[in-house]
């Protein structure tokens, strides 16, 4: 199969695409004016937002007009007769022009709350991101994004490797708001909490003969022994149980009844972001500090093979919840006085086919778009939207290696220049300008 050969060839030259991406869109820079230089604080917080299923980047950041030499809008219209967003619907969510092609771009109208963040200079749009030699399998692609390793099967996640390098095993620095732990947090020996809600931090008891304190003491004693004496899977369960029992009361005590901007916002995604806000608030208010700084939260449903829709439909419904929730979470960080310490980064395992399919949807594609949000972000448009007259089997070609985004976050937000090298397979990567 030819694909086996081309994979190897491709990988020898992955890091070479950064030249145009290191620079923010100059037009947008002029509007925003100069920003104060920002050094990533030692207590930098990262919230990783996963849009699961393969978000259609081309209906997330949409061409408004043609570019010289590339009829981006005309090609968009002909590829997407029923799911295309009309130009007249895009004028309220216009962002900066494509930094390379120069044509005008806009966010999906359902992402209007993110447009507010863009106008405030707190949203970076990073176009054309993917891993090299696309596979188009959800699960292989998710593995690659989580592990930051496009070849072979990595045991650990990119954030897990960071946690291993930066902290000791007894530190509890990360909370995943998901049913199961995201592979991005897989690590050698770092413990990460994974819950669907803070309300899960509770131990049951016998309602007829309450005996919780004694049972909890026995359980802690037993698990402490397991963590010392057991081996293999038993040790692993014993250790994580021991850590969990130690953290239980602290997390159970987090106040979630406060006037968060996320209160009443629709969807499970907003509820999970609210719990993250509550954890951050707990530490800001100087209560019993939890110290969690790394979070992952997932919004599922982006696998829009059918009924993707334009202004209304599956993607618009998801964006309605996403935009409102991300804006409200940002507003929470402002209210808590930590908007300069919190970075939100979105990602999705791949984008979707340029041409719509017979079901009013789109099949699996390649490059997609990322958002970075926060006061520390240098707002603007980064990277060019892939040319619609130069597709790879009907898909948008990768412009930016996803590891450049990770390298930027590690070097410019979590650590210092060059810190990404031991953490990302294939490093070094050139960093991008959305963080300084």
């Amino acid at each position: 199969m030819s694909i086996r050969i081309s994979r190897r060839k491709f990988l020898t030259g992955t890091a070479a695409t950064a030249a145009v991406l290191g620079m923010p869109n100059p037009f947008q820079r002029a509007i925003l004016g100069a920003r104060a230089a920002f050094a990533a604080p030692a207590d930098a917080i990262l919230v990783l937002v996963q849009l699961e299923g393969g978000n259609d980047g081309l209906n997330t950041v949409i061409p408004i007009d043609d570019a010289p030499g590339v009829a981006q809008r005309s090609l968009y219209d002909s590829a997407r007769p029923s799911i295309g967003i009309a130009v007249s619907d895009l004028l309220d969510t216009e962002i900066g022009a494509d930094p390379v092609k120069g044509n005008r771009l806009a966010l999906h109208p359902s992402l209007a709350p993110l447009h507010d963040l863009y106008t405030g200079g707190n949203l970076a749009v990073i176009n054309g991101v993917a891993y090299p030699n696309q596979n188009l399998s959800h699960f292989r692609s998710e593995d690659i994004w989580m592990s930051a390793n496009p070849t072979g099967s990595a045991q650990n996640g990119w954030l897990g490797r960071y946690l291993d390098a930066a902290f000791t095993p007894s530190d509890l620095k990360a909370v995943d708001f998901d049913n199961t732990l995201s592979p991005a947090f897989y690590s050698v020996d770092s413990n990460v909490l994974a819950v669907t809600a803070l309300s899960e931090f509770v131990l049951g008891d016998d309602p007829l003969y309450p005996d919780l304190a004694a049972k909890k003491a026995a359980l802690q004693a037993a698990y402490a022994e397991e963590a010392l004496q057991a081996t293999g899977m038993q040790l692993s369960v014993g250790t994580s149980g021991s850590v969990l029992l130690g953290a239980l009361d602290d997390y159970a005590a987090v106040d979630t009844t406060w006037p968060s901007n996320l209160n009443g916002k629709p969807g499970r995604f907003a509820k999970r972001l609210k719990d993250i806000s509550s954890i951050l608030r707990n530490d800001v208010q100087g209560g019993n500090p939890l110290g969690a700084r790394f979070f992952h939260v997932r919004q599922g449903g982006y696998d829009t093979h059918s009924n993707q829709g334009a202004l209304a439909g599956r993607q618009a419904d998801l964006f309605d919840d996403l935009g409102v929730a991300l804006k409200a979470f940002y507003d929470d960080t402002v209210d808590l006085g930590i908007s300069n310490k919190v970075l939100v980064l979105t990602f999705s395992e791949f984008g979707r086919r340029v041409a719509q399919n017979g079901g009013g949807g789109t099949d699996h594609g390649e490059a997609s778009v990322l958002f970075a949000i926060g006061d520390a972000v240098v707002g603007g448009v980064y990277g060019t939207v892939p040319a619609l007259n130069d597709l790879n089997k009907g898909n948008l070609k990768v412009q930016t290696d996803f590891r450049q985004v990770y390298a930027t976050v590690i070097d410019r937000w979590l650590a210092s220049p060059g810190a990404h090298v031991p953490l990302l397979p294939g490093a070094p990567f050139s960093t991008l300008g959305f963080l300084t």
Binding site: M1, R4, E200, D206, E226, G359
Partner: protein
């Protein structure tokens, strides 16, 4: 041959079923290994179908979940058959939350019961024309004029071949996905019956090329069947093409893919290539009959190795039902599905087409705490409408010391040999707090402390592992 003793019987019943009932092991020891395994794998297809309305009614779904949980909890001769229904539900994962039709989910569940131990080719055929699957992966939208790749991709990636072979080489190309999608055209759902059917007018009759330039390249007007057992179009069933696919070692890809997945589900992760080929051999020789593969696994000495007994985490169904069987708990099962969902396993609604993440992934913080919650609910169970468990049925209340009680109960749960001394002591200390009971036949001691120590044992690492 392994020594056919209680420990090995308990291991087999834990993996090939949902745990052992209190004092169940001796009968299976007497039967011997070969007969025990044969009794499990030889069950014929079973057409039992749960209740289900043709809509998205949560109460109807709850009834279907309860019906199935009760079968898994109480079937004895057919315990492996129900275990395989659970395996195939995980393998051909289909989400009720997308399908929104309880009757379609009930039909799919019946398909797994009918064919789950039989011909894998029949099973793939039936899943391909299954209404819930046609809805879930957009097969009903896939026609000669409006191609949709969703099912064709997952058929190769998740159901039959895998993205890569055992050496990490890609099994197919994007071009194969597109051609496979064309082979899958034509199926629709009859909304009156909630069954799938082939509509020849929507089928792409043109020739397709699969696995271009490979030694097993195939060109033809491939499709599936029309439901009569006759290939449609005649003599060109694409499942045969899929099953002829060979990996970079030149071995058949599907049997290795399925053997590895089943070994990992039933025994331990990352088996060697040699072991995979060993258990796949009778499956290949017999024309891809699933019970041949299972028999080879359950008769293999490595299935009874220390690694196989200690390196997997029970899934929530295994955890909850093994606890209930071991304690002779009774229930109307109506509340069990909610417990399972809290532990991460909402029946009929896996997290994605990739099914549930098995192994240590089951013990995320929240799911772990919900296991603790279930253990406590079972131990404190005094109402058959939820769970009813009588401690006196599983321990000897003539016992005179906490040590005796703890050791007996650790034996009941099959974990006596693995619990570290310090953890055992923590249980004894709990029973003796605040003062050592003078009698374990005192109902107050049983209600207050013995139930408590049962909860604690179910919460220890050992009971989560098998």
């Amino acid at each position: 041959m392994v020594d056919w003793n209680t420990e090995n019987v308990l291991h087999l019943l834990s993996r090939a079923g949902f745990g052992a009932k209190y004092k169940e092991a001796p009968g299976w020891v007497r039967r011997g290994q070969a007969l025990t395994v044969e009794l499990l794998v030889s069950q014929k297809g079973m057409s039992a179908k749960g209740p289900g309305t043709p809509d998205a009614d949560p109460e109807s779904l709850a009834k279907l979940q309860t019906w199935w949980v009760k079968r898994m909890a109480t079937q004895n001769a057919r315990r492996l058959q129900e275990k395989m229904v659970l395996f195939w539900h995980d393998h051909f994962a289909t989400q009720y939350s997308v399908v929104k039709n309880v009757r379609q989910m009930a039909y799919q569940n019946r398909t797994f019961r009918l064919h789950g131990l039989g011909s894998f080719k029949t099973l793939v055929q039936e899943v391909t024309r299954d209404a819930a699957m046609l809805d879930f992966l957009d097969g009903k939208l896939n026609s000669k004029n409006n191609r949709n790749e969703n099912y064709g991709r997952e058929l190769m990636e998740l159901f039959v071949l895998g993205v890569v072979d055992l050496d990490g080489n890609e099994n197919y190309t994007q071009q194969d996905v597109e051609n496979m999608a064309r082979c899958c055209t034509g199926f629709q759902i009859d909304s009156a019956t909630d069954l799938g059917f082939m509509n020849p007018a929507r089928f792409d009759t043109s020739a397709k090329v699969l696995f271009l330039n490979e030694p097993f390249e195939a060109v033809g007007k491939f499709g599936f069947e029309d439901g009569s057992g006759v290939p449609f179009p005649p003599a060109t069933n694409v499942i045969d093409v899929l099953f002829r696919h060979r990996d970079t070692d030149g071995e058949l890809t599907m049997p290795r893919f399925l053997a590895k997945k089943l070994w990992e589900y039933f025994a331990y992760p990352s088996p060697s290539k040699a072991l995979i080929d060993e258990v796949a051999a009778p499956f290949i020789a017999g024309g891809f009959v699933i019970r041949d593969l299972l028999r080879a696994i359950f008769l293999h000495d490595d299935f009874y190795s220390e690694q196989a007994k200690t390196s997997s985490v029970k899934n929530p169904v295994e955890y909850a039902l093994s606890a209930m069987r071991a304690t002779k708990a009774s229930s109307n099962y109506a509340q069990i599905p909610d417990h399972l969902a809290a532990m991460g396993m909402e029946l009929f609604d896996p997290p994605s087409v990739n099914g549930w993440s098995n192994g240590a992934a089951w013990l995320s913080t929240g799911q772990f705490l919900n296991r603790f919650e279930f253990a406590q609910a079972l131990a404190a169970g005094r109402d058959v409408k939820a769970i009813k468990m009588k401690p006196t049925q599983i321990f000897d209340d003539d016992a005179t010391s906490a040590d005796q009680v703890v050791d007996e109960l650790l034996g009941v749960f099959g974990v006596a040999a693995r619990v570290p001394a310090g953890a055992r002591q923590a249980l004894i200390d709990y029973l003796n707090d605040p003062t050592p009971p003078s009698s374990f036949s005192d109902p107050t001691v049983i209600e207050r402390k013995v139930r408590g120590v049962i909860a604690l044992i179910l919460q220890l690492p050992e009971f989560h592992i098998h």
